[in-house]
Symmetry: C2
Subunit: 332 residues, 2 copies
DNA sequence: GTGAAAGCGCTAACAT
DNA sequence: ATGTTAGCGCTTTCAC
């Protein structure tokens, strides 16, 4: 059995309650006993049991982070950033893979393990509904869930980003344009497509149905979808991809189909993940400041955890176009 | 306040103990009450509180997974695989970023939150020592810690992998060879370097000190180190990188220095991460089956969790050379 | 098959 | 400033 606070108390010659107080630097303990108790606790290697603590306080100082695509570099980086922010405020970030929460019954989210939850990948609104219903503080990051009552969220300006890309392509003179979109069920998938389509429409350019692919946010998905689109519409000279992972897949497809980028094909992504700036890709893309996304969302969530009165807040983050090497004027 | 088992008991007209038993399908509860209790529990949205449960059982059905470099695609994939395996046996995988465990005092690893721990990134033996001392079941994955008493570990055959690369390079006719090694404190860093150096030595080829870089396992590190090595020893015709992330960095460096791969420079990696097979890299590398690594390690850890009598087990996994497009004979 | 009661280790309210 | 006590929600004897 592990060392308990009672063991420490006995050894230090004080009551168990004093141990508890002293180790948490509570006022109402003399400097002397505090030091003494600390010393004994260290000697014994005492670590307070989390379950005892949280059973008594109804708090865990842990935040659940729901991520689906951990192998997606964007989410990996986002998570790293979130974990860092949480740490700075004394919270532990716990990653929950999507699969962990399939069954709402046994979901660790609802068993009191977390003081709050950050939802990144989630497109399934059922989970968010359930979290809301149970009054667990939460905040959406990057993706959000189709409109209803105000909820806390931190998202990039998807529509603006898509517009920036549309304007770039038009400025370059492209008219035969395709899109590799993400799942329509995700806000990043649908909004980026919609913003792009609308912006093109304002310039009198229509997207042909066959020029629009929809796929999961994976490299393989992007590659397959780009191949399909480029095969169906060989005249396309530019491809807007709903994120960088898809764009990397599209670049792979272009290589496989022997289409030179950017001379024969322009490819633009979204997110500006670290891989994008590698010379191997040198991807023109829309930069999302995921550190800012993580920082804002985390701060807001913890504020709400510590004071439930605080109103939900939706923040839309600026984006900017990063011109690298995968765009050019269409071939004549 | 959340719904408790007492609420369910009252509503179902049974005792609290019966609720507890019924929901866990314990023998000693009639099929009828079991169904009834389940129904009421579902209606009320009851989820057993984890802290109550684990305070009472000293078990959490949670496994801590210590990872440092989550943004390293290899570890991201490894973690995804581990989480999957754990899930299959009814355990929850909880990711612990290295930073969470800096302070051994408050470390969540020691507060009873986990039934066991999987250590991936860790090169710091202090943590493993402490885990061992406290009798927490654990298993090392991919990396291990320099020799001492037998501990559970699942690692790739680093020495064999390095030999395969050495033989490939020699077979191609390279003699001016460099290495981008990982940190000497990691087994993947040191063993791959040692195995490679020894294999070359057996063929009468020595590694010049300036031809060996040592760096953190990041793309930027690999790039910077490769630049340094290639600048110090311009005659080098081949570079063995201790993992694929470093190799991707080396390819970046080659591009920056305008060295054609593979015609002017051969680059070989280790791990065979998904990115490696992209045409943008088309990296020749040593394949490690991380799914097997994850599966074996997870199974063994859980066996030990459920039966502490089981002996620690060290498993060395096969590796194989994957010949892609970044190797060639040296230029004449 | 089910209920009553003890106890897991902690924090917090109440005494002193 | 410190000790005493109750209680958090669960599992698990032990009676019946």
């Amino acid at each position: 059995m592990a060392v308990t606070s009672i063991d420490v108390a006995r050894r230090a010659g004080v009551s168990q309650a004093t141990v508890s107080r002293a180790l948490r630097d509570q006022r109402g303990t003399s400097e002397a006993t505090r030091r003494h108790v600390r010393k004994v606790a260290r000697e014994l290697g005492y670590v307070p049991l989390q379950s005892g603590r949280s059973l008594s306080t109804s708090r865990s100082r842990r935040i659940g982070i729901v991520v689906g695509e951990l192998t997606n570099p964007f989410y990996a980086a986002l998570v790293a950033s979130i974990v860092h922010e949480l740490d700075a405020r004394g919270y532990l970030g716990v990653l929950l893979h999507d699969s962990d929460i399939c069954e709402p019954d046994s979901a660790p989210i609802f068993d009191g393990s977390f003081d709050g939850v950050l939802l990144t990948t989630t497109s399934d609104s059922r989970l968010a509904d359930e979290i809301e219903r149970r009054g667990i503080p939460y905040c959406l990051i990057n993706r959000e869930i189709s409109g209803r009552r105000p909820v806390s969220a931190n998202v990039p300006d998807n529509v603006l980003g898509a517009e920036l890309v549309a304007e770039l392509l038009i400025e370059l003179g492209h008219t035969e344009i395709g899109v590799i979109a993400g799942p329509a069920t995700t806000s990043t998938g649908s909004e980026r497509l919609r913003g792009f389509r609308d912006a093109l429409a304002r310039h009198g350019i229509a997207l042909h149905p066959d020029a629009v692919g929809e796929t999961a946010f994976t490299i393989d998905g992007g590659c397959a979808s780009a191949r399909a689109v480029l095969t169906a519409r060989p005249a396309l000279t530019a491809l807007f991809c709903a994120n960088d992972v898809l764009a990397i897949g599209a670049l792979e497809a272009a290589t496989q189909l022997a289409r030179q980028v950017p001379d024969q094909l322009t490819v633009v992504g979204f997110d500006d993940i670290p891989l994008a700036r590698l010379r191997a890709f040198d991807l023109t893309t829309v930069a999302v400041d995921l550190t800012a996304l993580a920082r804002r969302a985390t701060a807001h969530l913890l504020d709400r955890v510590e004071d439930p009165q605080i109103e939900p807040q939706r923040v839309v983050h600026e984006v900017r176009l990063v011109r690298r090497g995968t765009h050019a004027a269409p071939p004549r």
